[in-house]
Symmetry: D3
Subunit: 340 residues, 6 copies
Amino acid sequence: MSKVVAFGEIMLRFSTERHLRFSQAKAFTASYGGGEFNVCVSLANYGINAEFVTRLPENEIGYCAVQEMRKMNVESKSIVYGGERLGTYYLETGAGTRGSNVVYDRAHSSMATIQKGDIDWKKVLEGATWFHFSGISAAISQSAAEACLEAVQIAHELGLTISCDLNYRSKLWQYGKAPSEVMPELLKYSHVILGDIDTAYFMLGIPKVNPNYQDEKSLPALYSKLYELCPNLKTVATTLRYSVSASHQRIGGVLFDGKTIFNAAVQEVTPVIDRVGSGDAFMGGLIYGLVEYKEDKQKALDFAVAACCLKHTIAGDYNLVTLKEVENMAGGNSAGLVSR
Amino acid sequence: MSKVVAFGEIMLRFSTERHLRFSQAKAFTASYGGGEFNVCVSLANYGINAEFVTRLPENEIGYCAVQEMRKMNVESKSIVYGGERLGTYYLETGAGTRGSNVVYDRAHSSMATIQKGDIDWKKVLEGATWFHFSGISAAISQSAAEACLEAVQIAHELGLTISCDLNYRSKLWQYGKAPSEVMPELLKYSHVILGDIDTAYFMLGIPKVNPNYQDEKSLPALYSKLYELCPNLKTVATTLRYSVSASHQRIGGVLFDGKTIFNAAVQEVTPVIDRVGSGDAFMGGLIYGLVEYKEDKQKALDFAVAACCLKHTIAGDYNLVTLKEVENMAGGNSAGLVSR
Amino acid sequence: MSKVVAFGEIMLRFSTERHLRFSQAKAFTASYGGGEFNVCVSLANYGINAEFVTRLPENEIGYCAVQEMRKMNVESKSIVYGGERLGTYYLETGAGTRGSNVVYDRAHSSMATIQKGDIDWKKVLEGATWFHFSGISAAISQSAAEACLEAVQIAHELGLTISCDLNYRSKLWQYGKAPSEVMPELLKYSHVILGDIDTAYFMLGIPKVNPNYQDEKSLPALYSKLYELCPNLKTVATTLRYSVSASHQRIGGVLFDGKTIFNAAVQEVTPVIDRVGSGDAFMGGLIYGLVEYKEDKQKALDFAVAACCLKHTIAGDYNLVTLKEVENMAGGNSAGLVSR
Amino acid sequence: MSKVVAFGEIMLRFSTERHLRFSQAKAFTASYGGGEFNVCVSLANYGINAEFVTRLPENEIGYCAVQEMRKMNVESKSIVYGGERLGTYYLETGAGTRGSNVVYDRAHSSMATIQKGDIDWKKVLEGATWFHFSGISAAISQSAAEACLEAVQIAHELGLTISCDLNYRSKLWQYGKAPSEVMPELLKYSHVILGDIDTAYFMLGIPKVNPNYQDEKSLPALYSKLYELCPNLKTVATTLRYSVSASHQRIGGVLFDGKTIFNAAVQEVTPVIDRVGSGDAFMGGLIYGLVEYKEDKQKALDFAVAACCLKHTIAGDYNLVTLKEVENMAGGNSAGLVSR
Amino acid sequence: MSKVVAFGEIMLRFSTERHLRFSQAKAFTASYGGGEFNVCVSLANYGINAEFVTRLPENEIGYCAVQEMRKMNVESKSIVYGGERLGTYYLETGAGTRGSNVVYDRAHSSMATIQKGDIDWKKVLEGATWFHFSGISAAISQSAAEACLEAVQIAHELGLTISCDLNYRSKLWQYGKAPSEVMPELLKYSHVILGDIDTAYFMLGIPKVNPNYQDEKSLPALYSKLYELCPNLKTVATTLRYSVSASHQRIGGVLFDGKTIFNAAVQEVTPVIDRVGSGDAFMGGLIYGLVEYKEDKQKALDFAVAACCLKHTIAGDYNLVTLKEVENMAGGNSAGLVSR
Amino acid sequence: MSKVVAFGEIMLRFSTERHLRFSQAKAFTASYGGGEFNVCVSLANYGINAEFVTRLPENEIGYCAVQEMRKMNVESKSIVYGGERLGTYYLETGAGTRGSNVVYDRAHSSMATIQKGDIDWKKVLEGATWFHFSGISAAISQSAAEACLEAVQIAHELGLTISCDLNYRSKLWQYGKAPSEVMPELLKYSHVILGDIDTAYFMLGIPKVNPNYQDEKSLPALYSKLYELCPNLKTVATTLRYSVSASHQRIGGVLFDGKTIFNAAVQEVTPVIDRVGSGDAFMGGLIYGLVEYKEDKQKALDFAVAACCLKHTIAGDYNLVTLKEVENMAGGNSAGLVSR
């Protein structure tokens, strides 16, 4: 039976409601999320054993994060405690022509100050079949990047499938290293990579083939490059996102297995309740699809795209949908009928 | 002067706000509604005397339901008390590709355990001109179906106009009888029937003419069948609903008076604030139109469709609009201008 | 350095949330706004010194209005106190085919009972470069109209640029005078006028050139008339608004500087979070554009239209956006991307 | 069977929650209340037919007030429409050493501009047995005082029992007459008067017997005076209130029937959820007691005091308690046990 | 290491906020709780392995209950699914002289329709050291009582310590049996019983020794009787509760170990945030104390009383406190100092 | 005219409502506060010019803090921008025996990373008459302590009155220095010191005279010591706080002017809405009293105690009361009467 372990940061998110701007808010909705944790929630929702590993401050706010993990059926037993604070971020959800706005307050978090050796990865990964990480751990601090590499290397030694969501964030990478100095080493162990064109080129430090990051035509060239650079790569996928407005997105996806390029039909996503975490929902769907649908890559991709679309209708960071709901949408039922 | 009496169930509805999923809700918005009560509210809003008859538990929650009736100007003086509980249901409002979700908790309600004879219909219907019921009363329990038939028969004896909204719900009809064993007897007294194709065929136990329930082409054949089976039938109508997504509906309507088929222009309805009760809003508009516009069936139909469309913009089960607002929209003003 | 002084009324607004109707509301969201104050907030947000002058009741509710001004960085030092009450209004925000609804409760407000002479305009306008007023002050009472004329005349004497937003409201003008008896005198001192076709003709008391108020073809004729009647007029502008529904507007704009007619591209605005104050947002953007972009009228107009569009995404009366956000949208970036 | 008709003003009340000060509130809780209406709600809760007569503006806010009346089972059929606005008031609920704060915004309300003759009292009072008014109607405007006198005189002619709650408010009485010029004429028809010492002396224009308004010793002298001045007086009562803090009150009561002085035991009331309307709750309880317990004046007084105490635990203007709850407390059960 | 398994019902509770009455609520706060589950949460908070066993409906509302268990670190792996509904109840929190009000809507719940044999107790209790149940399972239905007896008997066979909270509820026991026909059989296997005087006598079917249930003097006689009737009894305890008002309780406790009567000091508890579940908090504290403090019965009792007192300050059914907080209060620190 | 400048940190505070524990909160109320800022708000409310100086991050959250300052009429023109984050803290408000709980998340804030020289104190203090700081600035970081000393020294050179609230927080002082290494240097310039016994001894590094920090008898000895150590000292004051429970405090105060010890009557404070900031309220009241009442030290002390008491009834960090309200309470009116 599959068991996925993800490593990364979980944050407390403060969001305004009803599209209020920060300065209008007398209260913030509190929820917990983070790229790799969100992937775990997706997998748990689909019935896959999922464990999340991170470092948390030993205070009530850290314990609240653990309660959320338990509530979402994500295993939390290997979490380590220490450091000063839980990373937080502020979110103001846009509408129409006004985009959403994120203010990070994650510097000096317990996860950012994690050290290589803090986690006993041999023990943690015992019995696991898949290890997932993202470019964010590499982006928050030197020591987190090192801790991540340690995990990846042990996962590799133990023969786990390794997946990475490149997840480039321009406001991170503040510790003095460029992504291209750090990511290639992490990616060379990866079997599955999710990333868009710009991100990929940027993180790999190779010149862009094409200036338009949404141009599907440049994907084949990118994918070839990735296969060249990452000796273990089996699958690479890309979320296609066309933003009509903050409230209206068009979502598609592409997957390459080294031989064939698969395309998923573009879906209209409107209104957008919350698009934060929709890439993580894609990643979660992709892992599920690769694990469960094995050789049917088209089905895996369609599942990932359907999961990503549904996420846009869910408030909060992670994708609170059932397996049946995603299957239903992946199967073409997207009319939003009432169930009663 | 017209006086409409409706018989059915009123429930306490618990809904999540802002498209939250059930598991995200720390609170539920409480409101009261139910198919036949919703029709009464529409009629009261349009200035028609409306009375609602049901059975309620004798506790504070039952009294709250009565307060809601009074607030909405629906006569409640003939309500009987008894039984264990007020039926409830949980509603999670969808968005975009994610449909709304209803979890019923209405079994064993005071209305489901009503018995034939609990209500003195001769007295209740004194002075009334119209009796309305729906397929829901027949669906919740054997004894409620019997109590409903008793009401229909007395209404028939007293010469009232009788209307029925077929209102098929797949999650009901759990007591061992098929709709086709129960509904024909109830419908044979009805002068006005509201129902879509599938529902009608299913409830009447006749084979489907056409597999596509939204196919307007199959309506004439259905209508002919209904006229054959229901000797008192004067008007049959159908809400046409095309679901683009949970947030975008297209609403039209068809009415047949035995001679002519009337069609209403299809309206774009987006966003959808709350589509629960939109069929009841159509029914309320239809009764109003038939009562007030008498021979102008097109105007009656247009009024019903306009009422139905407006309902989608109103939170809660019933259609909180004024006569003037519906007339305005039925008259073609649907641009949503500010009134100031 | 520019300093804009605006004169008008600030009101406490009670609005229902989540598109609830008045009768569903157990609570009203309280905010403060008013046409001329909203213009001040826009200007303060863009970095222009802005002062708002009004008359307030000397009670806690009046003080709350002053706190709001201070919070928004609008100078409040010349406000005078007296009278019985702060004007209020109730707002129910529509959706789709259901329009928003405003119920004014502003009669007998402290501003409506202001008297000519209550404000020492010579002192107030010292150091100011621009004076702004709107047709609303002229519409609420005879004495407010007189107080407004006094201000305009002193602003004229002091050589300030004077702007007027015609702002016709059919529910006002209840004190026995027609707009055409009052407005021309006020407008003859104005250098900048914002108004749509109907309003302009109505306020000037001249017969309509064309029955369709949104018909851009009739604008040149209107503009010529205005230039004829207003000897100081330098710039006249018009917001073009096509209402698809309460949730979907199309916004454009036209500006005439006596020589050239400038047009701004029409923008899709959907969803509409709150359209109240979007005309004031246009006015604020226009003043900013005329002050900062000087001879580049096209840029001024584009800025005004962008500001107006963005306002539709902001809850509350005034336009809570930064200079950078408006510039960004005026520059063509309206896809609502996430900033993170 | 008894039927009580009350005449007065109903207002929309805006209150802050959780003891917030006005300047902290982003939202106000909206509820409806007013001295005489609150009495009606109490009576309706106890099973007495109660009708409320007032004048309302013909707008959505006025209709909301009517919905509230219907919800509370208070007859609203004789209400007249007209005027500009529903009176409102703002309430900030204190705690401990900080008192509650009321800001009235009721000037120019539809009720304040009512005219003698607006209501057909002969028709309205047909079938009624009791007429209730308060000093507030006399305090808001000259024309309201006249309309009130008209009602009192017709009630007198028709032989109804007439009750008056003196209800002195220092912020009212702004129209140029002193209470002592207006109240005696109204009181001379009254059979039941509720009032404390200061109020009574002030309203009657007689010198104070004793400087301490809470001094029970001065009550006999006051009562004698009242009997002298009011030829129809049968019962006079006084709420005794000792304010420990805004959160802790001690409530007692005194009743004089011309022969005997009855005293009710003082009750500890803490915490205070909302003390507004607690005097009206006493009045409602007193009317009920006088009607139902007839000669048992002690029981009537105890019921009134119990009702008054319970009101302090209810949010909103009126006393949302059942007959059984008041009887229970009047019978000595005040320990606040859970019912389950 | 200790592991406690509890069997009972978990319900969805709908409570009004800020002491609102049911009829004032537009929303209900949703939380999950139930006597035996509440005990599990207490134990998990104190670091004891706790598992809750029940029967839930297979729908989203049932899943929400499981999420709550997981969040609170209560093992849910042995839960069985089936039946129609999750039991619910409505709670209106009183204040001062107005008591709280509970309206149960738990009839026909999945737990009430559980059958003997539905749960594989041998497997469930493997590794457990303690089994806890309460009189509520015996009170809701015949089949639940039988299922409970089955569990108790198997726990007995397996040599677990068995505890029972008598938990008498007058609104339950509707299925035709008296407590005294059912409880003795259940109690004869119990080692620990929590119950007050009235309850105990009533449930055991023996005549009352003393009419005053709070009279500590009658406890010795009761305890003797219990020891006589329950051959396995080791410890019996009683919560002493003196209700000054709904907002002010005085809480003490008594424990008898067959030899000595231990008394805990009475604590002032004011204000009361939520007293529902305070008995369960005592029970949870008692089990913890008996397990951890073993022979120090006084310490066990003091811990139980401290836990009970703290529960009154926590909203919701269960006692959300840490071990350290209870120890701190049991140690005499009850001044509510700020921790910062 | 007096002008007070305060230097310190302003934080964003996240608090749960209705006494919820952190783990129960789905939302946090956001407000802004901090010891020295709170003093400024008090002074501004009493009509004293007050300016707050701090260092803020240049992001939307930092700007929100400035808006709050402006709203409260506290001058913010000398604030400097830089650093990574606004300090935050989490607050869970206790009740009864459960104390409030503060979780600080203020490490690495923009204020903690301020450097000596960041602020041009000569310019900032021009025209000021009073400088206020507290022990918190010295406690958060070495560089903040140095920046504070710089400010104090320049204030001293410019001849300002200097006040310090010792404000000891055990969770701060993490940067490697003991208070007694840092505070004496800061205090030697101070004219006014507020502090309790323990704090004072601890901060001054002198052995305790008496073990009970609330023992008024040890105050004279402490005061003598302080006068010895602080050559500029004119006034020293102490808040006396007896905590009955988290909901009930008894507040008194002592002041020593080098000659006489003044005592204020102890006040009962119950319920406690929010005690955070009550010490700052005392400080604000004390400065006001010393400035306005000059030689009447008793009056100054009584004013400070009254302000402190009232603060306990106000939600949020700072004391939102008017001068009149404090005067009223200082004058003996603490019964919490309704103003209407």
